[in-house]
């Protein structure tokens, strides 16, 4: 599939989960495809990085649910920060471990998972929709019930995939992408390269084969598809590009130019061509 073919499967108003973590292995070619589409009123669910920053700053979201929103080397995502301070988007901010439980509940098709995380904090007092549940056993303890994240579509990015939809991560951390893939009603996966199934073990052990095709509905080959977030061992984070991106949060004209020059190019191919011109690839 192409990025635009994935986008044609999406509708305004949908809840969309996005894999990766902060500014790490984000499916950025798909995020940019959402940006240049006419999709709107989205609910994004993510361990947020520039995906949430870009889509909220562009007014694409009615709501975001997140464990955090960070660019890692820049701890506070400046575009998202501006949106939050303007009160411009509805949000549910969870403890980042509790967020994992919401993914797992959805992946396992149970309504919630219990945890103590959130008790006695603003996570509960500021989110009246979050409920507690009492243990049915002798202890009777009251626990936070993290609801399953119901997601219409999930987007993840892997280092390698085969044409059937099996995914492989080659970096140090899978993050939660296997749970995202299971949790989505439909899941689309981009990958740096599509390889023959028999070639998976040329680059990583069997332990890296963590996204099975039964949870994947379409594959997009997107070299540099996570840029400017990191995608090791294929490439690190483009810190120069990320700093340029972050700096545009202060200046609406610079943000409009950056969007036109980079984020709203007509295709991922046009983006990578421009990266080559810039010497960033």
């Amino acid at each position: 599939m192409t990025e635009d073919e994935v986008i044609s499967e999406l509708e305004s108003g949908m809840t969309i989960g996005i894999g990766g973590w902060g500014s790490r292995r984000k499916p950025m070619s798909l995020v940019r495809a959402i940006l240049r589409s006419d999709l709107t009123d989205l609910h994004i669910v993510a361990y947020g990085g520039p995906d949430i920053g870009i889509l909220t700053a562009a007014g694409k979201c009615r709501k975001v649910t997140y464990g955090f929103v960070s660019l890692d080397s820049i701890p506070l995502e400046p575009h998202f920060r501006a949106v939050r301070q303007a009160g411009a988007v509805d949000f549910t901010e969870l403890d980042e471990g509790a967020f994992y439980l919401g993914l797992m509940a959805a992946a396992h098709r149970v309504p919630f998972y219990p945890t103590r995380a959130g008790l006695a904090t603003a996570m509960m007092s500021e989110n009246p929709d979050l409920r507690t549940v009492r243990s049915p056993y002798a202890d009777g303890e009251e626990l936070v019930a993290i609801p399953a994240f119901e997601m219409d579509v999930v987007l993840i990015h892997m280092n390698r995939a085969d044409a059937k939809g099996n995914g492989q991560f080659l970096g140090p951390d899978l993050y939660f992408d296997d749970l995202f893939a299971m949790a989505g009603t439909r899941t689309f996966m981009s990958a740096e390269r599509i390889v023959p199934t028999a070639a998976f073990l040329d680059e990583g052990s069997v332990h890296t084969l963590r996204v099975p095709r039964i949870h994947v509905d379409g594959v997009v080959e997107a070299p540099m598809g996570a840029h400017f977030t990191e995608c090791p061992p294929d490439y690190g984070r483009d810190e120069v590009f990320q700093r340029d991106y972050a700096a545009t949060a202060k200046d609406p004209d610079a943000w409009a130019r950056f969007r036109a020059d980079w984020l709203e190019l007509e295709s991922h191919e046009a983006y990578t061509t421009r990266l080559k011109e810039r010497g960033a690839w």
Binding site: S70, R84, A86, D95, Y100, R116, L119, M123, D173
Partner: protein, 262 residues
């Protein structure tokens, strides 16, 4: 051991590192998870000296042996276990962890805020958000690193990301069994919540030690709430020559730790 450094001038950052390292004393075999340069140096120092069983990560995805310098390529380190983020959360919930976090605001009972300043739904300043604070506090020991006490100590936090002793006291025993704010270390001193009788429940912040040259009056002047004093207040311990060598030559030869004190 012959010292390679001049011990005559110990600086504030080094005294704070020792005070933070002391927070890990007695922890034994737990995952020591400090956040930020000064706490990371403190955790690595504690393991290199008096708390050898601590487990530490390279801050990416591996638990590693050895005395890694700040920002060093972990590729050279000996990996003793795999700790991707999912595993870190599993460690949190297992309770076998001691974290060091920051606090933009903290009150007398240890309620901490690094989520947002002002109104939560439309803040004056969006900060880190909840991050892992709610889960950390209720599952295992937490220490706070506050490089500017006068700015952070407050009467009331705007948003509770990490609960303090008063809020935790309202929970049943099973929910709060693992809760502990071990220490609050600032530019002026080290504080704890230890009590010797039940009259001060829920516990409030107590002066444990003050850094050299700081008086109780000065510490109190940098806090809008009353700091508890029990008996004579000791001076924060100075680093040994071995500790100074480790801080200056091994963990942080580039002086990254100084940036938090400017």
């Amino acid at each position: 051991m012959v010292s390679a450094v001049d011990n005559t001038e110990v600086s504030l950052d080094e005294i704070c590192i020792i005070a933070l390292a002391e927070a890990f004393r007695g922890d034994g075999e737990v995952l020591c998870n400090p956040m930020g340069p000064v706490p990371v140096i403190a955790g690595r120092l504690a393991r290199a000296t008096f708390e050898p069983d601590l487990m530490l990560t390279d801050t990416i995805a591996y638990a590693v042996e050895g005395n890694l310098a700040l920002g060093a390529d972990a590729g050279d380190a000996v990996v003793e276990s795999y700790m991707p983020f999912r595993s870190i959360f599993d460690q949190v919930w297992s309770g076998t962890r001691h974290v060091v976090m920051g606090a933009s605001q903290i009150d007398r009972h240890g309620n901490q805020n690094f989520a947002a300043i002002g109104e939560y739904r439309k803040p004056k300043a969006q900060l880190l958000g909840m991050r892992g604070a709610p889960g950390n506090l209720i599952n295992h020991a937490t220490t706070y690193w506050v490089p500017n006490q006068a700015r952070a100590f407050c009467e009331r936090v705007d948003v509770v990301s990490g609960p303090g002793y008063d809020r935790i006291a309202e929970l049943p025993e099973a929910s709060r069994a693992q809760f502990e704010i071990r220490r609050v270390v600032t530019d002026l001193g080290a504080y704890d919540f230890e009590i010797d009788d039940d009259t001060s429940r829920p516990p409030t912040m107590r002066i444990r030690s003050l850094h050299p040259g700081i008086t109780v009056a000065q510490a109190q002047a940098a806090s809008p709430f009353e700091l508890r004093v029990t008996g004579a207040v000791p001076e924060s311990r100075l680093p040994t020559d071995e500790e100074l060598d480790l801080i200056r030559e091994v963990f942080d030869p580039d002086g990254v730790r100084k940036a938090e004190f400017r």
